[in-house]
């Protein structure tokens, strides 16, 4: 069992050895550096939007444009069934969470390399950097969520208490984005190939997630295979909250388990490679 120092500061009575941190120690360390995480999130947001012409509106413009394109091509033109929901409502509910996941993962993947000067010149819980990247995407998501609610109301889909499911679904998405993001961020420090892989990965993952199509299009047995992608369960849950008839709970359950596993794997890989960051970045 691990015993931590009584003092609430990470710079007190430090002990350094070649041993790697456990997951619990890593999480405790991140807790100690929570103020730095806050500042990094705030810096990311401020820098991202301060010198743009329309500023925060970009957070809405991105899903709006995707929504118009998807609704036009897949909804109107290809007539992909959307389980009885208006197609734009169907898409937007999954899209905002998907964007949170994809942006979080992508930003996290490049975050360590982009902050190389911090990594080589100062010590703090290294995980603070990718976590901040994902949390700043979470802030973007919250604004995009307002946009999604507006779209839902525009198409006169009724709001219901079921929609509160978005809160645990965001949690599952966050864990999945962290797991994938930590892993990619750490590997990216050592092999820059990752930078080129991430866009393909995000694209393939997008098509493996039921954002623009319904899981009902799959042969029945395949739904559970698809559920291994945590974003499938999450998006299925979003559709359910709007009134589709599939029972989402088995898929959500699998998504939660896979996300937790991915989160743990992400931290383990990160901790394993962490010692080399400052030397190779």
């Amino acid at each position: 069992m691990i015993q931590f120092a009584q003092q609430h500061h990470s710079r007190l009575n430090v002990f350094i050895s070649a041993q790697r941190k456990s997951i619990a120690e890593t999480l405790y360390e991140i807790y100690l550096w929570r103020e730095l995480v806050q500042f990094l999130v705030w810096r990311d947001l401020k820098v991202r939007y301060s010198q743009t012409y329309v500023g925060l509106a970009w957070i809405v413009i991105q899903p709006l444009v995707s929504l118009i394109l998807f609704s036009g091509i897949f909804g109107k033109f290809m007539k992909i069934p959307s389980d009885g929901l208006p197609y734009p409502v169907f898409v937007v509910s999954g899209l905002v969470l998907w964007n949170f996941f994809a942006n979080g993962m992508t930003n996290a993947a490049s975050s360590l390399v982009n902050n190389a000067n911090l990594v080589t010149k100062s010590y703090f819980a290294r995980l603070a950097i990718p976590i901040a990247a994902i949390l700043s995407s979470l802030v973007d998501f919250l604004i995009a969520l307002v946009f999604a609610v507006i779209v839902v109301r525009y198409f006169q889909t009724p709001l219901s208490p079921k929609m509160l499911i978005v809160i645990p679904l965001v949690g599952v998405t966050f864990l999945a984005a962290c797991g994938a993001g930590f892993l990619l961020a750490a590997v990216n420090v050592i092999y820059r190939d990752v930078k080129h892989i991430v866009p393909f990965l995000a694209q393939a993952w997008f098509f493996a997630s039921p954002v623009i199509y319904s899981t009902n299009l799959l042969p029945p047995g395949y739904r559970m295979v698809m559920a291994l992608n945590p974003m499938a369960g999450v998006i299925e849950g979003m559709h359910w909250s709007l009134g589709t008839t599939n029972d989402p709970w088995p898929m959500i359950g699998i998504a939660a388990l896979v996300s937790v596993a991915l989160f743990a794997i992400g931290i383990l890989v990160f901790n394993r490679l962490e010692g080399r960051f400052a030397d190779v970045v």
């Binding site: 691990i2 015993q3 931590f4 120092a5 009584q6 003092q7 500061h9 990470s10 710079r11 007190l12 009575n13 430090v14 002990f15 350094i16 050895s17 070649a18 041993q19 941190k21 120690e25 405790y28 103020e35 730095l36 806050q38 500042f39 990094l40 810096r43 401020k46 820098v47 301060s50 010198q51 902050n115 000067n117 911090l118 990594v119 080589t120 010149k121 100062s122 010590y123 703090f124 050592i190 092999y191 190939d193 010692g275 400052a278 030397d279 190779v280």
Partner: protein, 426 residues
């Protein structure tokens, strides 16, 4: 790494125990090379072949078996040539890179300053960067808010504090960055050569602050090339060479040992010849030239505050020869500092071996490399000219610096008599 709450001997602040750090000298493997490597390793394991083959060709040890302790309130300098392991040690102590083996234990709050202004973002204002940089250094939000006015005041950029730092001059930027660092409150402070930046005024301000920190009873470990600063700030010095702790003790003693070895690298203090390879001819040839501090021997460190002598030994085969040997002395920029020979009315020399010695007084030349070229004039004609025959590095001295360590300009650095008198005028 973990957080430890065992109790320590109260007076020990830092314990470094058997620390080793290994680096691979190989070029970085690409992803495909790594995959093939893993594949090969798995293949070997399956076939059971080549298991004893250890690939240790590209490995080198940046630190080898380093152990020391630092007591509370000590100010310790770390010196050594490039690649001696100083920076690696500091990176390990700062937790930037882990040791390959061994442990480090701190008792008290640790702060490290490897760079001022880490994490400064050009698009953020001065005030915002204070928050960000403070958080990276490990200060809490409350601490930063509490010291905000003090930090802004110290930086001297209050008029621009809400402006993005990309509009700052580099001087303003450095002042603000140092202001944050200077207000980092920790019982143990690890400092790299952050002092080597900025103009003389700024350096002085930084060093004043360092001295104050030192006087307040905190523990400081300082890695520096600025031996003058080490000499005046640190009572104790660690000397690293080839990744190992070569010396540990009183600063004066350790630096003396260190300089004895390293000044020999920077200059050629001695040359000797035998008859077969000596410069000259069958009537006159050189046997030895040497430069060394008074009372020392060639290879000993020379500093600007101590006298030294330059010697030339030669053999003369001409009876009643008119020989005039002269040294011309240049600095690193090639400026001729002086041209110096005997002041006596030149006596003629009988056949035999001679030694001529020129005594340089203390406090004449400024610090830096000095090159001695020899001219031999026989019968009023230049017979031989040997450029840069020997050389030395004159080291700086703390004398007269009064706590300032910037570059002292000028080719000379004499200490002429100087008086200060108060005049009785209304």
């Amino acid at each position: 790494m973990s957080y430890d709450h065992t109790t320590f001997e109260p007076e020990v602040a830092v314990t470094v125990n058997d620390v080793w750090k290994r680096y691979s000298r190989q070029k970085r493997m690409t992803l495909s090379e790594t995959i093939t490597e893993y594949g090969r390793a798995i293949g070997k394991r399956i076939t059971g072949k080549g298991r004893s083959e250890q690939r240790d060709d590209g490995v080198f040890w940046a630190l080898k078996d380093v152990s020391f302790t630092i007591n509370r309130g000590e100010i310790v300098g770390v010196v050594g040539n490039n690649g001696a392991g100083k920076s690696t040690l500091l990176k390990i102590l700062s937790r930037i890179t882990p040791p390959s083996q061994g442990t480090v234990r701190f008792s008290g709050r640790v702060g490290s300053l490897l760079e001022v202004g880490a994490g400064f973002h050009p698009d953020l204002s001065g005030r915002e960067n204070i928050f960000l940089n403070g958080a990276i250094l490990g200060m809490s939000k409350r601490e930063i808010v509490g010291r905000m006015d003090e930090i802004i005041d110290f930086s001297g950029v209050e008029a621009f504090i809400d402006m993005p730092v990309k509009h700052y001059s580099s001087g303003m930027y450095m002042r603000l960055a140092f202001a944050v660092a200077a207000h980092l409150e920790s019982e143990i402070l690890l400092v790299d050569e952050v002092l080597a930046v900025g103009d003389a005024n700024f350096q002085r301000k930084c060093l004043d602050r360092m001295s104050n920190v030192a006087k307040s009873g905190r523990t400081i470990l300082m890695v520096s090339h600025n031996l003058t600063a080490v000499q005046s700030l640190c009572q104790r010095t660690l000397w690293f060479e080839g990744g190992q702790l070569r010396g540990d003790g009183r600063t004066a003693d350790v630096l003396n040992e260190y300089l004895k070895l390293s000044s020999g690298i920077d200059g050629i203090p001695l040359k000797t010849w035998d008859r077969s390879n000596a410069p000259g001819d069958d009537k006159f040839w050189l046997e030895r030239v040497a430069i060394y501090p008074a009372g020392g021997q060639p290879g000993d460190p020379l500093d600007i505050g101590s006298p030294f002598q330059v010697e030339v030994d030669y053999a003369n085969e001409i009876e009643d020869a008119d020989i005039n040997v002269t040294w011309t002395v240049h600095n690193a920029e090639g400026i001729l500092l002086c041209d110096i020979g005997t002041w006596d009315s030149r006596p003629t020399r009988a056949r035999g071996h001679y030694r001529e010695t020129c005594f340089f007084p203390a406090d004449l030349l400024n610090e830096g490399p000095v090159y001695f070229s020899l001219q031999v004039i026989r019968e009023h004609e230049l017979a031989y000219e040997m450029p840069r025959l020997i050389s030395c590095e004159l080291l700086d001295s703390v004398n007269g610096r009064h706590g300032w360590f910037g570059h002292w300009p000028g080719v000379f650095r004499p200490r002429f008599p100087w008086t200060i008198a108060k005049l009785d005028k209304p």
